[in-house]
Amino acid sequence: MKPWQRALIPLVLFLVVAGFLFKGLFLNPKEIPSPLLGKPAPAFSLPRLDNAEIQFSPKEMLGQVWLLNAWASWCPSCVDEHPVLVAFSKANIAPVVGLDYKDTQADAQRWLDKGGNPYVVTVMDTDGRVGIDYGVYGVPETYVIDKKGMIAYKQTGPVTEEALRDTIIPLVKKLQSEVNQ
């Protein structure tokens, strides 16, 4: 590489970053198709947050439509999401299972003590292994899983009231009305 080409590198890098920053100004969270859609939810067995000696596996939820919500106490977007989930859980529409992603037991418990606990059960994915199986880009992410254990929908980013009202709740109702074969 010639010296003048090398000297241009910082400028080019900066312009790429600036392009992203520009786009970032006009963004809203939106859902994306996940390669796992329509596929069985990956199996796992993880310790529960409230009692690490008991393991939880998605098999226990077979026959129900349920939500798997990946969250963490260190995640700022989860702060926005949390009250929405708490309200959703109080409406008794579908159970939400928490996947506490790369977190510590103490921090997570403090989080739930402080903001309320919307989860029927929370499991600890301390090293993020299960997160990899599910293709978690970061937290929060939420999966809707049907009675047969298939992933029906994935929400990347926080679950908002609009997302619940327009997408998730109608989908959950539809899945619940399907006959269990």
């Binding site: 910082p10 400028l11 100004l25 700022p76």
Partner: protein, 664 residues
């Protein structure tokens, strides 16, 4: 009336800044001495105008003028005066005004302490700072006017965010901004040098003290912020890898690299293009930090208003300033000479390696901070990467940097034979490995992580001791004279490095040995942690100026002897309806005892968190040492005004002459 005068003063300041950003630079290009000489008076007038506008806004706050929108949004009649003044920078508009004010202070400082600079260089430096000032003043006047009226006036203000109602608010933002904005001086020097085509040792010598001073402010500013978070947020943490913390940390990392690279450029004439690039990057990261905080593109506890117009404006400004300077760099840097040659094993190459590590660390922090934004921009939703990423990436990059930090000052310039280095360092290596194993054993918990952290802390300490010992022994002078025979900038370097050792030691110990419990406590109940008995005496209600507080009392004893009383508070700010935690901390050199109140439960019981944090204060003490090292380096005699006291100068030079003879 006063707010209008302030507003008008800002408009005048913009006009002055436009002149400052154009005439002196054009004058320097054309060799027009009259235009160049405008730079000094214009900088001073600009400072007076912005300073006056700032005073006007502070006056509006002090006199509770709720017909000003910004005052009504960030203040309240019950807010104490000190916080009403600090509330000037408590919101978006006012903190921009503080930014502009501090920039004008730095500009005046350069105009005052630049007698030794060539006229064209000074004109260009002040001109570049004028251009930056134009951007910020325009931004304020167009989309973020702090003097905007609220008609009809509010009866009372909405109050300052309770999180900010803390003595930390009075010091932390101004310190941090002094650091952030201070890098504009190094930036302006670099751009001036690129424009004038004189990238030489003299340029490095001139910009060094300015860079060090900005770095000292930034170090202390970050320290104050971290300490504030520690007692205010009530989680016992001191660093959260929050986007805005990162925004202040990235310029610090690059600024640290810049200080070291400037030293090489001054002493050896090497790394010139790299140093210029670092100077541009340090300030660019400061600007980027401003963008991240002000535009609301990232979620953060520090985020102010979200207004896309503001974001677009700052981004456009960013592209002009950073893009423009990098384009200038691309155009001029290839013509810069290479400087002195050096061996693979030499102080230059150690410093270069450290520079690269610091730059890579800053890049990885940048990547982690912007990754959620990239993912979002590509349409994958809003997510966080958080501390797991930063911890995993940052520590492995800093470990070799600390290791090299021990070797660099001992290695010789140009070439440092490996056998000689190894011989000088074997004791330091042996002692630090031994201590890193023995100490955790004594403390009863050895993990590889703790051992490694302690090794790095002891390594920096041991190599510094070795360095001092050799220097003092070689001089063959009486102790006091031999201490004096080494320059203050050398001592400053040593103390700053020891500060890193103290910091690393504190971090390792607190991470490795801290303990905490969360308990439900009724009055009279006792909790046990780390050999201490914490007795909860109950909670009393106290009325603050603009809040209601529940103050808990916990008396701490060990073996029946009362040690201290902790008074954690839970405050409820009545105007903003926000609860706030004030931790009760008993700070101590050896350990902090820390308690915070959770929620009230039935029968006068409360949920309480108690922490035992060994050596946590060392983290901030280490930062203070770094800052002190920087200040010591700044008072080095070559920076002191030349003709102040001839006789002392004379004596100093005699001592130096003697010692240099001895060294030779």
């Amino acid at each position: 009336m006063i707010p209008e005068i302030g507003h008008f003063s800002l408009i005048l300041a913009l006009l002055v800044a436009l002149l400052l950003g154009s005439l002196p630079i054009i004058g320097a290009a054309r060799g027009n001495a009259a235009w160049m000489s405008l730079a000094k008076p214009l900088s001073r007038v600009q400072f007076l105008l912005i300073g006056f506008a700032f005073v006007c806004l502070a006056y509006a706050f002090a006199t509770k003028d709720y017909s000003v929108l910004y005052v009504a949004s960030n203040s309240n009649s019950k807010l104490p005066l000190a916080f009403r003044i600090a509330a000037v920078w408590g919101g978006h508009e006012g903190s921009l005004l503080l930014w502009a004010l501090i920039l004008s202070i730095w500009t005046v400082a350069v105009s005052l302490f630049s007698k030794h600079l060539p006229d064209d260089m000074r004109a260009r430096i002040l001109g570049v700072m004028g251009i930056i000032s134009v951007g910020f003043l325009l931004f304020m006047l167009m989309v973020s006017n702090p003097f905007e009226r609220l008609i009809p006036a509010a009866i009372d203000g909405r109050d300052l965010n309770p999180l900010l109602q803390d003595p930390g608010m009075i010091f932390h933002p101004p310190m941090l901004y002094m650091g952030y904005v201070g890098f504009s001086v190094a930036f302006a020097f670099a751009i001036a040098a690129l424009l004038g085509g004189q990238l030489d040792a003299a340029w490095a010598r001139w910009s060094r003290p300015w860079t060090t001073l900005a770095w000292v402010f930034l170090t202390l500013g970050i320290m104050a912020g971290s300490n504030w978070a520690y007692y205010e947020l009530g989680w016992g943490g001191w660093w959260f890898w929050d986007a805005v913390e990162n925004a202040s940390f990235m310029p610090w990392l690059v600024g640290t690299a810049l200080i070291h690279s400037l030293a090489v450029t001054e002493k050896r004439g090497s790394f010139k293009a790299w140093t210029v690039l670092l100077a541009i990057c340090a300030f660019s990261l400061s600007l980027l930090g401003t963008f991240l905080v002000r535009s609301g593109v990232l979620t953060s506890v520090h985020a102010f208003a979200t207004d896309p117009r503001r974001g677009v404006f700052i981004l456009a400004f960013l592209i002009v300033v950073i893009g423009g300077s990098l384009a200038l760099f691309a155009w001029r840097a290839p013509t810069v000479g290479r400087g002195g040659k050096f061996d693979v094993v030499s102080r230059e190459s150690f410093l270069l390696a450290n520079n690269v590590l610091l730059a890579v660390a800053a890049t990885s922090v940048l990547l982690g901070t912007l990754y959620p934004l990239f993912v979002d921009a590509l349409g994958y939703g809003k997510i966080s990467v958080g501390p797991p990423y930063f911890d995993a990436v940052f520590a492995p990059l800093m470990a070799p940097a600390l290791f090299l930090m021990g070797i660099g000052p001992i290695a010789r310039w140009k070439e440092a034979p490996l056998p000689e280095l190894a011989k000088r360092l074997r004791w330091a290596l042996g002692i630090s490995i031994a201590l890193a194993i023995i100490l955790p054993m004594m403390l009863g918990n050895f993990t590889p992580w703790i051992g490694f952290g302690l090794f790095l802390a002891f390594w920096v300490l041991a190599t510094s001791v070795e360095l001092i010992y050799q220097r003092l022994r070689l001089s063959n002078l009486p102790l006091l004279a031999s201490i004096r025979s080494n320059s203050r900038s050398w001592w400053g370097m040593v103390i700053a490095h020891l500060g890193i050792a103290v910091f690393t030691f504190g971090v390792t110990i607190v991470k490795g040995y801290e303990s905490e419990i969360a308990v439900k406590m009724a009055p009279g109940e006792v909790a046990h942690l780390a050999g201490y008995d914490f007795t909860f005496d109950g909670v009393r209600e106290v009325q603050g100026p603009n809040y209601e507080a529940s103050i808990g009392q916990i008396h701490v004893s060990k073996n029946g002897v009362l040690r201290t009383i902790l008074e954690p508070q839970k405050r409820f700010y009545t105007v903003t309806n926000m609860p706030m935690t004030e931790a009760g901390i008993s700070p101590h050199l050896i350990h902090d005892l820390y308690a915070s109140l959770g929620e009230p439960l039935e029968n006068g019981a409360w949920s309480v968190r108690i922490y035992h944090k060994p050596l946590v204060e060392w983290i901030w003490f280490g930062c203070l040492m770094m800052g002190f090292g920087g200040i010591l380096a700044l008072t080095d005699k070559r920076y002191r005004v030349k003709n102040r006291n001839k006789s002392i100068e004379h004596l100093d030079s005699k001592v130096t002459a003697v010692t240099s003879e001895v060294k030779a």
